[in-house]
């Protein structure tokens, strides 16, 4: 790797250094905008005792659900895990721990974590089970709960285009959690559809500046659709 060139040519190199017990922050919403090849590489590496932070946990045979087969995940922090029967089994049997987190709080935990803000107050979840054990403080007469932000040893994200310097552009709603996740990893790996030369992306149209990205790999994607709905 020379200078700012962050492109790696193998999945092994992309996930090098991931070890048992690490926290991985993953972009994606359902199966939309997920780093498919990086997840497969984690499965291949058989890394275990992982804490995974992601809005969802894939489905049984795709996305982060693949990491459930060999019980690689110890804990998941997510807002919605209802699409996954294997997950349900492991939750009920106590093999996996889940920390259900409101979706906006989860996005903010990643954003704040990546921005060096250790915690923040939010009205979301006040008076609900989410608030149990958390500090409550009133601002302008309204109660808020204290939520701690999240960082991880690794962040894995999926982008549409990257340049060699790691500047990222996302496509449509495949953006979702990816820009926040990208800021919150000690090592952030971006799996992308296309890699271009520095200068080819319009600077003002870049969603994630390359400073947040450590490694870039060109992936090939199945892009499975969870619910195909059409009007014809």
């Amino acid at each position: 790797m020379a200078g700012f060139d962050k492109v790696v040519s193998s999945y092994e190199a992309a996930m090098e250094g991931l070890k048992d017990g690490d926290t991985i922050i993953a972009g994606g919403f359902g199966l939309c905008g997920i780093p498919e090849g990086l997840i497969s590489e984690i499965k291949r590496k058989k890394t275990t005792d992982l804490t995974v932070v992601s809005n969802n946990c894939g489905v049984d045979d795709f996305g982060l659900g693949l990491l459930l087969h060999d019980k690689q995940i110890k804990k998941i922090i997510a807002s919605y895990v209802g699409e996954n029967a294997l997950f349900e089994q492991q939750l009920l049997s106590g093999e996996i721990d889940v920390e259900l987190t409101p979706q906006g709080t989860l996005a903010e935990k990643m954003r704040a974590g990546g921005a060096g803000i250790p915690a923040f107050y939010t009205a979301t979840g006040y008076g609900t089970p989410v608030a149990e054990g958390k500090d409550v403080k009133e601002f302008n007469g309204r109660p808020y709960i204290l939520e701690e932000s999240i960082t991880g040893e690794f962040a894995i994200v999926k982008a549409w285009k990257a340049d060699r310097y790691g500047n990222l552009v996302f496509r449509h709603t495949a953006m979702n959690f990816n820009p926040m996740a990208a800021t919150a990893g000690k090592i952030t790996v971006a799996e992308v559809e296309e890699i271009v030369e520095p200068g080819e992306l319009e600077p003002s149209q870049i969603h994630t500046p390359g400073i947040f990205v450590n490694r870039v790999i060109k992936g090939s994607f199945e892009k499975r659709i969870e619910r195909v709905t059409t009007r014809d």
Binding site: S79, V130, T230
Partner: protein, 218 residues
């Protein structure tokens, strides 16, 4: 007679105002989009990062990168914007969304809502519901007035784990339109052919009935 799901959605649609940014939950709330009055414009927000949700795509338009918060494939309406999850919830939590419509298991007379978890049954997660009820300027809940077994869903105090406290201001059920205010349900309208007595018998929380209650008009 009790309203159909479509009629509940039609009645909710009457609450929409020109220029509203609206977030519609899954189920009956989604149907509200089919009944937006012709003379107004509303912009639908989908919390995965889309403001200006359009109709479902044709088969030719199908795109895995274009989904709504229900993970269904959608299109972007004219003038739509797409953004990340933190920006999406800044809209929601910052009070920029004018109206949220969502379903619930229970609502109580103080406007607290339980909609995400039934203990000892499968726990799927709250998704964006807690953010939406904490942040939206107006919240309308749609649900059946009572369960299939006849148990009221309008209670003195919610029995299930809460989604949010003291936040619901209006409820449209299959039997009635109610406002939640000052620790009580206020009956505003009844479904055509449904008696006030039936609504009283199916409302467990404190219900105020003031004068003649008009039937809903469609």
């Amino acid at each position: 007679m009790a309203l159909s799901r479509e009629q509940v959605a039609m009645r909710v649609a009457q609450e929409l105002q020109d220029g509203y940014y609206v977030n519609l939950g899954i189920g009956i709330p989604t149907l509200v989009a089919n009944y937006v009055p012709d003379h107004i414009e509303v912009m639908l927000q989908s919390e995965n990062g889309l403001l200006g949700m359009g109709q479902y795509p044709t088969k030719a338009e199908l795109d895995a990168d274009m989904i709504n918060a229900g993970k269904e494939t959608v299109t972007a309406a004219k003038g739509a914007a797409i953004f990340n999850s933190a920006d999406s919830f800044a809209m929601i939590r910052g009070g920029h969304v004018d109206l949220t419509v969502l379903g619930a298991f229970e609502v109580d007379q103080n406007g607290s809502i339980a909609s995400w978890m039934i203990p000892k049954k499968l726990i799927k997660g709250m998704g964006g519901a807690m953010d939406l009820v904490a942040g939206a300027k107006n919240i309308i809940v749609t649900m059946t007035h009572a369960s299939k077994h006849g148990d009221s869903k309008l209670l003195e105090s919610c029995s299930l784990p809460l989604t949010g406290v003291n936040c619901v201001k209006k409820i449209v059920t299959d039997l009635a339109v109610l406002e939640v205010k000052d620790g009580a349900f206020h009956l505003l309208e009844r479904a055509p052919g449904v008696s006030v007595d039936e609504i009283i018998s199916k409302t467990a929380g404190k219900l105020l009935v003031d004068g003649e209650i008009p039937e809903m008009v469609f």
